[in-house]
Amino acid sequence: MKQFAFAITLVFIVGGLFPMRAQPADDAQLEQRMQALTQQLRCLVCRNETLADSPADVAEDLRRQIREQMKAGKSDQEIIAFLHERYGDFVLYKPPVKSTTYLLWFGPFVLLIGGTFMLYQYLKQRREMIADKPLSAAERKRAEELLTKDIT
């Protein structure tokens, strides 16, 4: 039983090391480049998967096309442009900076600056609140009155 469990574990470990992928052995370098590029691209069928990981039919077609373009000597930029032209911004995991994405790109920095400013204001206010301030003449007089007043 123990040996069986060991064998099963081994199968999974070794299986994990060599994922089942259509991988032309002679072109490992190209395949690696294809993987790296498709990691940055989104599959349009299973929207939350990268083009590299998606098992969808369309993703397979796109990977084939990317391989062919790489073999034809196209640069990564050219291939991304090719896909962007057809599928729009959605295909890019890193969206381009343009008027509709300003909020996305710069929003966090605006929040950071705003938050820092608020924190600064708060700390300044707090320092003023806890600072020892000498009593004014009027306040001293009133305090004395309160303290000497007969409690009857």
Binding site: V58, D61, H84, Y87, G88, Y122
Partner: protein, 176 residues
Amino acid sequence: MNRLLLIPLILFIVLVGFFFIGLRHDPNGELPSALLNKPAPAFQLPQLQDPTKTFSPKEMSGKVWLLNVWASWCEPCREEHPWLVEYSKSAKVPIYGFNWKDDRAAALRLLNENGNPYVLTVSDTDGRVAIDYGVTGAPETYVIDRQGVIRYKKALPLDQDTWEKEIVPLVKRLNQ
């Protein structure tokens, strides 16, 4: 009462607002087509019925027409099919079929059994041209104007509402 204490409450309400919008928003909804208002990509593909003949969108210049992406393996296309047959009878606009990554025999059988709404159908067996059109699934429908520009894309099955409220008025306007 310290006004600052209200800030977490306000932030919480804003967050709930975002969640509410998010819940009502279909994450698999339609995407804006990158090809809208751009020339329909050129292609030359064999016809389904007679593969010795080809068809190219160039032949449609000067006409407003519909290109409908379909396949026999696609369930929503089967739902859409009877509607297409009916629309084709109204003869308001010619419908051309784009048979995507399909088996020829299965596609022909479907048309024989359920009627053929298409003037003609082209076969994109390996899905290469579909990539040029940014097809992500079937069915998809494109309205192409007289200059060969894509004016409309629907990445959902057509129904009565879409046909009457979106496609027919658009075709009418483009034909003027």
